[in-house]
Amino acid sequence: MTKKLIFSVCLYLTALLTHAETIKLPLQELTALSTLELRCVSDQREIQVPLPERWELKRLVLHLRYTVSTNLIPDSSQLVIKMRGEPIAQTRLNPMAPDVKVGIEIPIRLLTPGYNSLIFQVAQHFSKNQCESPCAPDLWTNISLQDSYLDMEFDWKPVPTALSSLASFVFDPRLLPHGKVHIVTEDVSAKNATLSGIVASGIARRYDYRRVEFTSSRVLRPGVDNILIGSRTFATSVLGAGAIRPVTGGYLKALPMKTANGGVDPTRALLVVTGETDLAIKIAAITFANISFKFPGSDDLEAFSFKMPEVEQYSGRETIRSDQTYSFKTLDFPTQSFVGLNPGPRSINFRLPPDFSIRPNQYAKLALNFSYGAGLKAGSSFNIGINGRGVRAVLLDSPSGNFIDNYKLEIPTYVFKSGANTLTFTGHLNLTGQVCDLINPDNLFLTIYENSTISFPPMPHFVEMPKLELMMLSGYPLTRWPDGHEAKVWLTERNDKVLAAALNLVGVITQRNGFPLFELEFTYEQPTDAVELLVVGSVPSIPAGLWKAAPLKLLEDGVVVPYPVVRGWNAEFVKPASSKQKSFLGQDKGLLMQFQSPWHSGRTVTLLTGNGPDDIAFAGTALLTAGAQNQSKGDLVLIEPGTPDANKFGEPDPKINAMLAGTPYATGQRGSYSAIESFFYTNAIAYYVAGALAIIVLGVSMYFGLMAWRKKRKTSS
């Protein structure tokens, strides 16, 4: 005991002396589940623990809370915890103390930069004799991921000056709790804002799903990674003469960041994106955004051109297109075996274009290659589920096992949804014999091979808007072209905070879409061409024309606010009441709205606004959180500050109020719809009434028109 106490004190003192940083990482942050349930006589689940390359891990402690079934027999029931396959702890599952909290020190040598599998494995029994049902309902252990967490203690490693470090070291999706990047530009002109957008988009993509927060100003900001964008003259003025060598093309350079007092901070990066001409700077920015391979080894490079592969519509992240057949390997589903009594599900996550209009007469085609072991009980099968619902099952009915090639299944497309989908395979492998027979589950296996395929039929692109959820899902409609073609960011005021909010949204969209928005243009003037618009600016700067089209109209002569009166069904749109009043949005609040462009039918305006730049910056940052993104639905989202949450790294989760209040309109692949089309597509009754009127008027017109002809025919002879 004394030894342990001395060891702990020494450890604490060591930590203090080395100024190491600590972070509490709730396990819930690492998976979409809130609990892990381990069932049957044996089961295991794993969680991937990220470790960024920039961290030098000093200490790692797992605080685990789990609950066990009170019917378990402690002598033969245990929980084993493994890190990267190596057992690090094991505990008896004692029903006398069913709710357990335990702290486990994980040897840091077991962890490597990247993702490390933390495995929870159980052996559970409720009977001392052999006559035990292997999957009795009594056999369970539940790990609470909400209350379990990892205490991580680490130091920052110096950033390598090689530009190749951008690929994985600097902008690392495993960085916790999130990335912070400061962008320095000469001014907030549209040109520099566009370049910042390209750079921010590239950085956000490297961070993958990890939240990254952008700020913008004229000067360097110590303590975070900085990107300096602008002409060589500007770069020289910030960094000093000699920092940048004379170049002809675009130029990228990696430097250690400066401290507030002018010293060097090797743990943070300063990246320079510059060039002699505007075009050269743009080439440098695009090159910077695309360095995804560990090359070059030098700390600078000159960029002369950048050729992008051909970009096609709807080719964003994990998106399945209708004209291709995808192997499971392509969909990140390598050959996998389901082994044992309770092998658990395996999933393929993919997206369908968010504006797919799914028809009832079409089928997705699965061609499965799989094999299974001998001696399976007659009822053994594997189920195929779509988005959590079972849709098909395959019977494994050969007692001697089988290898089945090209087993074709059709799944109606209406069980899928536009946007994110999950295809799940769940094996249900049962043994033959009686309960008291000697159980040897080693022959229970099912292997699904990676050369199995899935394909979708052609589906039309049509979606009724507004739907902010689609923007949070894949950036739609700004990402109809994945590189942001036919989309613009309209900043209604020149302010760093407004620009930062816009960059944060661009970052979110890029991460959702998985493709850098090179074609996305920033502007301060009202765009005249038919494009999808992201408008960012404070309330007074937003033109009245936009307010009139918005679901909540903050007009000078009065505010028009929608209030839901009737609570309808989820799928039913109940038009809210409308109140005209003299009122204000208030401080510390942001508004995110989506509506049809008042200038181009079928085009969408997404508007982020607040009373002032600080409110907009707050709203922009708030939308980086997963909670805010998940709750942003409909066409009107009010964003308010929340209370700090211990399970969210102590950061507040914003409060989101969302509703659908505005007029629906239609859009699709071509984006632009005429006002008539949009009106009819969203008003079925009007459509049929127009048809009926056309028939009646046409009938009567023909009657009068043909009367003369008839008379002439009658009297012609």
Binding site: S357, R359, P360, N361, Q362, Y363, E410, P412, P457, P458, P460, F462, E464, A666, E677, F680, Y681, A684, Y687, Y688, A690, G691, A694, I695, I696, V697, L698, G699, V700, S701, M702, Y703, F704, G705, L706, A708, R710, R713, K714, S716, S717
Partner: protein, 750 residues
């Protein structure tokens, strides 16, 4: 030197614009309606789509209950709604269901889609043609007979019975028109020099020539023949044109006996309109065609051609597209000579000639009144032969004088002629519909990618609306399912003929439809084999469908729909087989059910009784009366019959049978028919167009649905019996063959 057309003056342009100004809003509204259909409803919920489809059907159903809906403008609204339902179906079919899955599916899908596109095009064209049928008033001849045009009456004949020609020529001599202005010609192509010199045909040709010349001599009409049979009927008529000089020509097939007033009804318009080239009248048949005989039992059934003559032709007349049907028509010589006589490129020379004259801007007219009485084809083989000629001729016209491309026609005329040509491709579509269920259920081809809710929303409303439209437009002349049965019966035979004509448009040759041929016994036509095959195919499809229903739960909705389709095909096949069981028709002279009064003298009891006429033919008369005495077999009576023109004729007759029915005596009497009374009999039987009108009306009398259904059921049972017989016979033959082979080659065992 280059010739150039003079530009229209401003006044001419203004006049043209004013004249056609009414078209502008119609075009705009039509485009708007098509635009709305083009927008599609796929993004609305299926419930809304179904509501729209069935809402339209409900409106059509309600409208069809009211007679007023048959009048414009309600009629137009009815037709436009049905057009809307049809177009929305086709739009949906095109943009939502044509999916590529694999090559074999695609081929099957494309074939079925082609059939549906064809059907919808013909459907739309028929709606157009039937838009506003013209009801004309009679144009009387001027009082001054001296300005009445002279008329040549052409009775072309080839190998038909000379007695048929005699009746027609006799009736022609009785036509109510100044005798000095009429010339009657028997145009004998059966006795041409070529045939008389042909060793195989010489005897018959010489005999025919002699008999027809004798008949012509007896009746005081002209007999014409020619050296060769070149260009068949067209050549025959054109030859006669060179030998005659009347202003107008009345064309009569040799079995088309004219009524006395035919020229009174048809010459007037020619006097009134110089640009009129044709007055066509209906082809009215006194005997039932084989299908009608099989379907109708004892009751009257509208003739297959009645839909065309009673309703479609007035529709064509509205668009100035009434065309020459080969007989029962009057044409102006001057116009005919302008185009070199009757055209002979195709084997439907009549329609081709009308097309040529319509192209020259001349007008046609239709008189919707039966003024001839003809003979329909007596057997199925003749019926198919006749329809094959019409089909091939129409295809020839489309291939050689495509109405869409030739100059001179109005848009409406183009569409009307196109309808006439395209119609005959129905055989191909029908065959595709016959095999489609089996393609999916037996062979597993996915050729119709639709889910059950979509079928409910689009396909079924379209199908029901076509039935409603058919009833609305043609209900009086075409009973439920009869069109399908007619089409089915012809389909397997017309398809190869039509395809052959498409491939070789110049190849088909004119084949005369034999007339006046009866059947001694009821018999199964050998053509029924095809329908047995169709029955077997669809029976297999339904069985396979039931199996698939259990093994493919994912596709149950489509499977159910296809099974229903297969069952419908089974019924069609059974009905067709039932119809192909040809009823006996031994009667030499066809009886016609008639209504009217006559006086009958019974010399034996010295009574003169007023009787109600029941039926009438060239050989006798049927009547009923309240008699206070018993009628004896073979009793001599005198029938006093008054014609429409007031002429009273006396026919010495013999009672063949007398039956007491309740308080009435129903008698059948045979004319003793000495040669002297023959003209009177012809005059009495055929001379009165009013009688034919009564008969025509009687055929369209409303029949209870239960009766129609029972007739169809009888036909179906007859078809099923035929199927069973064929199956048993085939099985028995096979078993017999097996037994025989075992007897002849006994196996050797050790």
């Amino acid at each position: 030197m280059r010739a150039s057309l003079p530009l229209p003056t401003r006044a001419e342009t203004a006049k043209w614009v004013t004249k056609h100004a009414f078209v502008a809003p119609i075009v705009v509204l039509a485009v708007w309606l098509i635009y709305l259909i083009g927008l599609r409803e796929g993004h609305f919920s299926v419930v809304i789509q179904s509501g729209a489809g069935w809402g339209c059907v409900a409106i059509l159903a309600v409208m069809s209950l009211f007679q007023k809906a048959k009048l414009a403008p309600w009629r137009f609204i009815f037709l436009l709604i049905s057009l809307y339902v049809g177009l929305r179906y086709m739009w949906w079919r095109t943009f939502e269901t044509l999916l590529y899955t694999n090559l074999s599916d695609f081929i099957g899908m494309a074939i079925l889609y082609f059939a549906e596109v064809y059907s919808i095009v013909v459907y739309v064209l028929q709606l157009f043609v039937s838009f506003w049928p013209l009801e004309r008033e009679r144009v009387a001849l001027p009082v001054d007979k001296s300005i009445w045009p002279t008329v040549d009456i052409f009775i072309p004949t080839y190998t038909e019975d000379e007695e048929i020609v005699r009746v027609t020529a006799m009736a022609a001599t009785q036509i109510d028109y100044p005798k000095e202005k009429i010339n009657i010609y028997i145009l004998d192509d059966g006795g041409t020099l070529a045939r008389r010199n042909d060793v195989a045909k010489a005897d018959a040709a010489w005999a025919r020539r002699l008999r027809l010349k004798t008949i012509a001599g007896q009746l005081g009409v002209n007999y014409l023949t020619r050296e060769t049979n070149q260009s068949a009927k067209a050549g025959n008529v054109n030859h006669a044109l060179t030998k005659s000089s009347g202003d107008l020509i009345l064309f009569l097939d040799c079995d088309h006996v004219p009524t006395a007033n035919i020229l009174q009804e048809t010459v007037g318009p020619f006097v009134a309109d110089d640009k009129l080239f044709l007055v066509q009248t209906p082809h009215f048949f006194c005997n039932a065609a084989p299908t009608e005989r099989s379907i109708g039992g004892d009751g009257p059934v509208p003739d297959e051609s009645e839909m065309f003559y009673r309703l479609i032709h007035p529709g064509l007349d509205f668009w100035n597209a009434s065309y020459f049907c080969g007989s029962a028509a009057l044409m102006r010589r001057k116009h005919l000579e302008e185009i070199g006589g009757i055209s002979g490129t195709s084997i439907t020379e009549d329609a081709e000639t009308a097309l040529a004259l319509h192209r020259r801007g001349y007008r046609s007219r239709y008189v919707n009144k039966p003024l001839v009485c003809g003979l329909a084809a007596g057997t199925y083989s003749d019926y198919i032969l006749q329809h094959t000629r019409w089909a091939q001729g129409s295809v020839q016209i489309m291939m050689l004088h495509n109405p869409l491309l030739v100059s001179g026609l109005t848009i409406a005329q183009r569409l009307c002629y196109l309808n006439a040509c395209l119609f005959w491709f129905f055989g191909i579509a029908r065959i595709i519909y016959f095999i489609s269920p089996a393609a999916f259920l037996v062979f597993g081809l996915s050729i119709y990618h639709a889910a059950a809710p979509q079928i409910v929303a689009y396909s079924l409303p379209h199908m029901v609306s076509t039935v409603l439209v058919s009833g609305f437009l043609f209900g009086r002349t075409r009973r439920a399912f009869l069109s399908e049965i007619y089409e089915s019966i012809q389909s397997v035979f017309l398809m190869p003929a039509v395809l052959s004509a498409v491939r070789h448009p110049h190849k088909p040759s004119f084949k005369v439809t034999p007339k006046g041929i009866g059947l001694e016994h009821a018999q199964l036509n050998t053509l029924s084999f095809f329908f047995f095959a169709i029955f077997v195919l669809n029976f297999a499809a339904v069985q396979a469908g039931i199996l698939r229903f259990w093994t493919q739960p994912l596709h149950r909705d489509v499977i159910i729909v296809t099974i229903i389709w297969g069952i419908y095909n089974l019924f069609l096949a059974l009905w067709s087989l039932g119809a192909l069981w040809e009823k006996r028709q031994a009667r030499a002279q066809h009886r016609l059910m008639v209504v009217g009064k006559a006086m009958v003298q019974f010399p034996r009891v010295q009574q003169r009784v007023e009787v109600d006429l029941i039926d009438l033919s060239m050989s006798g008369i049927g009547f009923s009366a309240k008699l206070d005495f018993e009628v004896k077999d073979r009793e001599r009576v005198f029938v006093e019959a008054a014609s429409a023109d007031g002429l009273v004729s006396y026919f010495e007759s013999e009672i063949m049978r007398g039956i007491e029915r309740k308080d009435l005596t129903v008698c059948g009497a045979k004319f003793m028919a000495p040669l002297q009374t023959f003209p009177d009999i012809v005059h009495y039987v055929y001379g009165d167009s009013g009688r034919w009108e009564e008969v025509w009306k009687a055929r369209t009398r409303k029949v209870k649905q239960t009766r129609i259904m029972s007739q169809l059921m009888v036909m179906g049972l007859r078809g099923a019996w035929v199927c069973l017989t064929i199956t048993l016979l085939t099985s028995w033959k096979w078993i017999s063959a097996k037994i025989d082979s075992r007897v002849r080659h006994p196996s050797v065992k050790t």
